[in-house]
């Protein structure tokens, strides 16, 4: 009654994953102008990439057969504030101070946002926990393209990076909804005063716990190493009042003899209102995306042209697109808006390559087009950061994340 059991025709063979990775990591790339990032512009340069590193750069050459061609080449862009952290689950909100945790368990390398970021020219990104805690935990530096394994994508920096926030955001979710019992959310600071108190208390307790075992708490050692300058501290502060609080915190720690915080301020929209706060401690800032109408989060107002004045005063600044990669907000467009706001070409190029590389302490590996460096390259259709040119090709660690051909 039952016909012979025939095995169904099988699917096309599934490629065995993890098989030897055959993506090509050696290329010949030729460009009419190579903006090395060292201040030098090479004409008609031929770049040879071997196994993910820049093997040779030979200016004044014509493009050999089969080489990838572009009008201009710059080093891969670095964004220190990509915010592709996947939301609430990237920060442990049980306690306000979590310096011993990290955003690493929340990283989803399958999120299509990474491919879009790589295609928009960002080759290295700093991913921090969501700003819902006073101290959210450690950030992670990773390449935006490559195998979907964190071990292969992570970039080790000489110093770990800790993330914190000042302003309304850390306390914003904490007001107890009317009539609901106070759960662990509503016990926490609901004002800027409360947030600032948490900052000082954390460092004070950490220093006291140094000598007394019974007072130790998770993360105390991490805070002490921050004070010793062995760990970079990035604090998000939009409005000028919050930038001021961050600088006062650093100066108080020094005054009290607790130590010297190596501080970078993220999303410093109103840095232009009181520039001397930044110049007196040589504090680096990361600018948020240029808002069309000037208005940003936390009521801060970013006046476009005043950014050029800051650059003129020697404040080291980095640009960021906050993870956006659509046509009008991606990092190359932020560079164009910076140029429109008066920054010179070199200042703009530095703000997306050498400055962030220096912040990460990886100036010898990233940020410039020089022999021996990672093969992170961005190929442009014309002069970079112009409205009439765009990113056409991207190499991340020698791998073609966006093919210009």
């Amino acid at each position: 009654m039952l016909s012979l059991l025939l095995t169904a025709a099988t699917l096309a063979p599934i490629p065995a994953l993890g098989a030897e990775d055959t993506t090509q990591t050696s290329w010949n790339i030729h460009a009419e102008r190579v903006y090395t990032g060292t201040g030098e512009v090479l004409k008609n340069a031929l770049i040879a990439v071997e196994d993910g590193k820049i093997a040779s750069i030979r200016p004044g050459r014509s493009a050999p057969e089969g080489a990838i061609q572009a009008k201009a080449i710059t080093a891969g862009m670095i964004d220190l504030s990509v915010r592709v952290h996947g939301g609430f689950r990237s920060v442990e909100q049980a306690r306000e101070i979590q310096p011993h945790l990290s955003v690493e368990p929340a990283i989803d390398l399958y999120d299509p946002a990474w491919k879009r970021l790589a295609a928009s020219g960002i080759t290295t990104a700093l991913l921090s926990p969501m700003d819902r805690n006073v101290i959210g935990g450690h950030a992670v530096v990773l390449k935006t393209a490559g195998p979907e394994e964190l071990a292969a994508r992570k970039v080790t920096t000489p110093r770990p990076i800790l993330r914190g926030a000042i302003g309304s955001e850390p306390s914003s979710g904490n007001h107890p909804a009317f009539g609901t019992p106070t759960d662990f959310y509503s016990r926490r600071p609901t004002t800027r005063m409360g947030v600032e108190w948490e900052w000082r208390k954390a460092f004070f307790d950490a220093v006291n716990a140094g000598g007394d075992e019974s007072r130790d708490f998770p993360g105390a050692e991490e805070l002490r190493s921050c004070l010793r300058g062995e760990r970079l501290l990035i604090i998000q502060a939009w409005a000028t009042q919050d930038i001021r609080t961050a600088i006062y915190l650093k100066e108080e720690m020094a005054r009290e003899g607790f130590g010297n915080l190596d501080l970078v301020i993220d999303a410093a929209a109103e840095a232009w209102r009181e520039p001397d706060f930044l110049t007196r401690n040589k504090t680096t800032i990361i600018l948020p995306p240029f808002p069309a109408g000037g208005r940003t989060t936390d009521g801060a107002f970013l006046a476009w042209n005043r950014t050029a004045e800051l650059a003129g005063m020697g404040v080291r600044m980095c640009l960021s697109s906050h993870g956006a990669s659509n046509a009008t907000e991606k990092l190359e467009r932020q560079g164009a808006y910076a140029r429109r706001a008066g920054l010179t070409f070199d200042q703009t190029l530095a703000a997306v390559t050498t400055n962030p590389a220096a912040v990460l302490g990886l100036s010898d590996q990233l940020g410039t087009v020089e022999v021996g460096r990672d093969a992170d390259l961005v190929l442009w259709s014309g002069t970079p950061f112009e409205a009439s040119s765009r990113v056409v090709g991207v190499l991340v660690a020698g791998e073609l994340a966006r093919d210009p051909r």
Partner: protein
Amino acid sequence: MKTPLLLLPLLAVTVGLAEADDKYAIKAGTVLTMAGDPITNGVIVIEGGRITAIGSADEVKIPWDAAVLDASDLTAAPGFVEAYTSSGMDRPNENVELAPYLNIRDSIDPVSFYFEDSLRAGVTTLNVQQGAACVIGGMGMVVQPFGLTVEEMLVRPNSGLIMSAAPKSGKSRATQAQALREAFGDLRRHLEQLVQEKRDGNDRARREALYQGRDLSGERGLGRAMVSDAWTVEGLELVPRGEIDEKMEPLLDVVEGTTDVYFYCGSPVDVHQALAIARDNGFLASTTLVLDASCWKAADLIKEAGVQVVLDPALTRTERDPRTGEEDEVFIPGVFAEKGITFALSSRNTTNESMWFQVATCIANGMSVEDAWAAATTSPAAMLGLDGRVGSLRKGADGDVVLYSGDPLSISSHVEFVVLDGKLVYDRSKDIRTKHLLEGIQPEGGSADEASDEGDK
């Protein structure tokens, strides 16, 4: 809403500079004409609001009595033309879904910040239409972004009706399409009924005359026969046009092809519907499609129908292939250019989507400089039936000139002056809202801060 104080500086921008009679001349470092090659250190003479002479300094003599704007270190270019916008009004959308009898002149707000922003972005001609959240909307008009009354702003009245194939809120595609079909079905039945009533009346009159023994004097039809590519109601000449229901009369003009139509499509599926409705009712030739960014998939269909399109301000779009999960980016104007479809760019007046930025983005994505400029000047001008008047600087064109600090498409150049019909209407040095955005300087009196909010909506 707006503090009156603000109005004064705006006025100062104009009154102070307009000269007595209407002769005006501009000396510019380079002149991009969009009607031939650019002119270096050119001269443009405008009399009575029209360009009477244009050429290099040695060819063209400036009349002795003309006011002269010396912009020899600036670049002159024709103003951009916006082929479709529903900004510049309090409430662009009418909730009555079938309202072809409405006219936009009743709701344009001359002092809306949208028009000041347009000047700042170098846009000098706009086709303002009712919003696309409708089935069939009212009649639009072409205006200049300057003037205290709608009449002063007028460039060309009755620029066309707006229709939408994208479902109005509360409708789905099926009910929207059925409402569109029903509108034209009702028109046809209404006309046939009018003709039938006229015929019955004439027959009865004939019999009455026979009964009464009178000779019937021939009744001459007072209307016009109906002419349309798709369907006609035979005998319409019997009906005087005045007797047709004035709520439906504009639709008759559409079917007869005398009124242009702007058909909004929210997705590629809507394009199928819009073209079908236009073809079935004979107005495909006078239709311009206003497309959402997703409609590029129906480009072949648009090419086959031979209609022109107005593109969405979003010029690129990422699409996910459900089979592979891969995402690829599509440059939409490129798709239309490659298929040879005439298209016009549209813009939003924020920095990153103003018209010059759109033109630059097209060039960045591989389009030629001429085609990119044409899509923001001569193509939309032709669509509005104003080619030769706006969108290019040539003899006989309107005296609309925009002067930039450098190459108009360079990231760091700005609009310094705008001249409309030979009168200076915008001077950047007196533009308090730009000052606030770029330098953060709060103007005395009313805070431009809210002002800058309003402009961005």
